[in-house]
Every structure is written in structure tokens, then in C-alpha cells.
Amino acid sequence: MTTIKSILRRLGAPVRGEAAVREIEDELLFHIEMRAHDNIAAGMSPEDAVADAMRRFGDFDQIRTVCEEIRKERLAGIMKMIKGCAWVVLGCGLMLKMSSKIFAIQNVGDFLILIALLWRLLIHLREMQPDRRRVIAAIRERFYGGPLSVSGFMEDTPKPVPTYDKAGRTPVERLISDESSDETTK
């Protein structure tokens, strides 16, 4: 059962895109949060606890980027397989269409050809789509400062910026403020 779920999750990975990226961030933040909670339990102030948790964790943005890259490598393999399957379906469709004289089988062939062409079109459209995350990061650089506003030109590979919430807080700011409010409630 778990294996079936894991296979479905793997196959569904290319369409999850942004959600999967968000999951990486959630997972890393969970780790920092757990460490901060343990630090607070050991007697640290919320600010010190979060600062220590962040220090122990290392460069959040860099680690997130590495995890995203590993995920993209895996997706590249899955996309290759999906593309290959589209060609196989197209081949089967053409074979049925050309080789059979039975009308119903020719119809099945037409159907498979149509499916394969739509499949290829979808893959093509997806590949054409620009990396939305990078575009969003570039826009944020413009608003929050960075290479664009400082040096006046866009870097080829903008440094990933933390995901801001509705109040414009970075994940770390959010964590500090949550810890502080927890402490005040107590």
C-alpha cells in the first residue's frame, strides 16, 4: 500500500511543482522549530533559542536550494520517462491505425494518437513555462533590495530569497515572533 502511494507520489511530482518546493521549506523550518523548542525547554530566551537553532542549522537558503536541485534531478528522470511513454503510445496508435483493417481497432489507434499528441503538447507547454519561482524571486529582489537596486543590473542567477508571508515576514522572523507570542501567552 505504501509502495503504491510512493509510486503515485513520484509520478505526481512533476505537477506538484510549487507545492513540493513549499514542502522542502516546511520541513527545514520544522527542524529549526524543534531545535528552538528544545532550546527554550533548556532555559534559553526565545530570541536566543531561535538564533542558536538557525546557527546550528547553517545557511537556510543554500540548504533549501540544494534540496530543490536534488528534487529537480529526480523530476528530470521522471519527465524523461513520461516523454518516452508518450512516444510509445504514439507508436502503438500508429501501428494499430496502419496495420488493422477493422474499423473499431483503427478507432482505438486514432484515440491513442490523439492522447499521445495531447500528452506531448502538455509536456511542451510545461517546458516552455518560465521558472515562476525565479521570476517571483526577481520581483522580490526589486522590492526588498538586492543586486537589482544596488548595482542596477540583474544577476543571471538571483540568490533565492526567503518566502514571505502575508505580513511580509521571512520564515525566521515568523518563527521568532511565534516563539515570542507563545512565551507571552504562557
Binding site: 520544522f30 527542524h31 523548542h37 547553517g58 534540496c67 536534488i70
Partner: protein
């Protein structure tokens, strides 16, 4: 030389992660804690480096991940060993034992 040292460390971390998961599913923070506690605070995993290693293990099919609720009712990603992961752990443990035995022999005789 630096590269081979890095590979050794990465390989060892993978083995330690697989071993920590042998008893059951754990989330990343628990894995780091388990390694530290089992080694009686001798080994401290650089916490951030744990995640790229976990993602690589997942890519290789040695662990699989599933979201669940943590002990404090937060959403956490739990990793567990796959059948291939168990086999890999056996291979890596055996390799490590042979290597450490060989080093011990050299140290005793040299």
C-alpha cells in the same frame, strides 16, 4: 584529497541515517538526535547537511518519506527504510566493519 575526505563523510552520514531508521520511521530532527544520542554525543550531525543527504537517499530509493503528525501535533515529514535501503544498510555496515577492522590491525601492528 579533500574530495575523497568529503565522500567518506557523506558515505558515513548515509550509513548512519540508514541505521537510525532501521528501528522505525523518524523525522529529520529525530534522526539528528538519534545519531547524537547513540554515539553518546561524540557524533554531532551538521543539522542542515542532513536534509540534502536524506533527499539523496530518497532519490536512490533507499528511504521513502511521508508527511505525518509529530509528537507535538505538528506536520512533519517522516522517513522510513525501504527494502532496498535495508539491503544497502547491510552492505554498508559490512564494508564499514571490514574497513575499521583493517584500520585497527594496522594501528596495532604499525
Amino acid at each position: 584529497m579533500a574530495q575523497s575526505k568529503q565522500n567518506l563523510i557523506q558515505g558515513t552520514l548515509a550509513m548512519l541515517i540508514l541505521r537510525s531508521l532501521a528501528r522505525g520511521p523518524l523525522h529529520g530532527y529525530e534522526i539528528a538526535q538519534r545519531i547524537q544520542q547513540s554515539s553518546e554525543d561524540v557524533l554531532k550531525v551538521e543539522e542542515g547537511s542532513l536534509y540534502p543527504a536524506l533527499y539523496r537517499l530518497e532519490e536512490q530509493g533507499w528511504v521513502e518519506a511521508e508527511w505525518g503528525a509529530s509528537e507535538n501535533n505538528r506536520r512533519a515529514k517522516y522517513y522510513k527504510l525501504t527494502r532496498a535501503g535495508r539491503k544497502q544498510l547491510a552492505v554498508e555496515t559490512s564494508n564499514w566493519e571490514r574497513l575499521s577492522e583493517a584500520i585497527a590491525k594496522v594501528l596495532q601492528t604499525a
